[in-house]
């Protein structure tokens, strides 16, 4: 089977409630000293057998070029494709005719973390990040502006690769 379903064989004769009870008691007691699966979250964020997927789509990050400017050229593809309509982009143009975003804001409350913005971006500027700790004291803090998006340091998502569907 595709994802390794374990089929439990049900006993179909010769098992009484009494024996099943005693067997169950022995089983639970045997679990008492088995290794625990709990991850001590705030201190411990990944273990040997679990870590966050590199394909995780979390809060966004804007990559920057060597001069520290956002790579964004304000082409307008990301607000166009965004299904949640959470990206606000006002394009601007400098003297050399380079387009850049005057305003670039993402409302993380509206965002559905589909990752289309990253997929559609021709400059590989906007990315969804491998990040999940987003608590804030105010709702207004969840609208990330360009400065904040550029300042994020967490790794960016690799998204899903159709040629390698299982991520191997």
């Amino acid at each position: 089977m595709a994802i390794g379903v374990k089929v439990v064989r049900r006993p179909d004769e010769g098992v009484s409630y009494l024996r099943a009870t005693l067997k169950g008691m022995a089983l639970t007691l045997s679990h008492l000293l088995r290794p625990k699966v709990t991850m001590q979250y705030p201190e411990q964020k990944s273990t040997a057998d679990w870590s966050i997927s590199p394909r995780w789509r979390g809060t966004h990050r804007m990559l920057t070029d060597e001069q520290g400017r956002a790579k964004c050229v304000a082409c307008g593809l990301c607000p166009q494709i965004c299904p949640a309509n959470c990206i606000k982009l006002v394009p601007g143009e400098d003297e050399q005719g380079h387009r850049y975003p005057l305003i670039y804001e993402i409302d993380e409350f509206r965002c559905v973390f589909c990752g289309y913005c990253q997929e559609v971006c021709p400059e590989e500027a906007i990315h969804v990040g491998v990040h999940y700790e987003n608590s804030e004291y105010e709702r207004s803090r969840f609208v990330y502006d360009l400065e904040r998006l550029c300042a994020q340091t967490h790794p960016v998502s690799t998204l899903w690769d159709p040629t390698d569907p299982k991520g191997e």
Partner: protein, 411 residues
Amino acid sequence: MSPELKGFFLVNTFRIGLVFTLVMVGVIMVIWVERRGSAFLQDRLGPNRVGPLGLLQNVADGVKNIMKEETWPTQADRGLFLLAPALAFCTGLMLFAVIPFAAPLPPFDFTLPILGQFVHAGPIPMVVADLPIGFLFILAISSLGVYGIVLAGWSSGSKYALLGGLRATAQMISYEIALGLSLVVVLLLAGNVPLSDIIAKQQQTTWFVFAATLAFILFVISAFAETNRLPFDLPEAEAELVTGYHTEYSAMKFSMFFIAEYAALITMSALMATFFFGGWDIPFTAWDEQVRTSWSLGALLQFGLTHLAFFLKMSFFIWVYVWVRWTLPRFRFDQLMALGWKVMLPVALTYVLIMASAVLALDRLGVPADWRWGMALFAVNIPVLFAVFWMLDRDRLITTQRRTRGGEAIG
């Protein structure tokens, strides 16, 4: 105030203080054991943040519940609504009053500078009230405990709570009988009702778990039903009745039910230790049974070690309670009734008959009341146990129909 009266007050303050502290701290510890124990049985860690090993988690929860708002349902009968948790709480604690928790301390006679002379003649039994009717007191009070639950269900003015209360009544009536009958066997063996006499008899012969094994098993099952613990927690039954009788309760009133439940658990564990495992008796030695007449290190050591023995026995049964709760699923109500009336009651009645005959026969044969007496009764118990297990085991299959294998129906 006479020296005797002062001695009386001193002794009783000490004993009541000790027992009350033991039970209340015990409740906190047992809830901790339950939460961590259940977690460990499920390969988790459980609450481990508040205090060392999470020991203070329940203190924090208690503080939270004291600070919370008291809610009064509009349909509630206010007087009874308030009375119910108090009733449940008191009966849970009262039972412990008759359980001896250590060897007696020697008598004292001393004089303090301002307070004067204190006298206590005779050894001091380590039990809050060494009632001559100890045993009957337990039967009476343990069935009073259900009033708290029934009144809570009735006074809440909520259908779920009422159903929970009704279930508690039916369950209590069914299992009280089996509980009483299993204790009748203990009574036959001990020959007297005070708990101190029951312990003395066990020290003299054997622990009653050998002399009356089936009574012990019946007692454990009934005690589970009596304390509304899984697999008998039908009055609560989260899946069907929200939380049953305490659905409408919040804050400290809910906490009272919670504490009462665990106090009853501790008391029932202590009763199992007392009735069937020799109470504070330390096995294979008579050192702990000597009656001291003067204070010495030995007397204190005797007190401490017998108390420890009692505590360990009690703790074992508390663990069994937790272990069973996190293993067995809840009964259906008709299964509960069938077990109570069609299995427990006839088995208990027959067992009383068998044990009464056995005790009478041993008496006529002139078997001395020591370990031989106990082992003779144990010999009677072994075939009885096999018979009961065979009876419960036969024809009670989990599935009687054959299932299909590989898509083809067989059989």
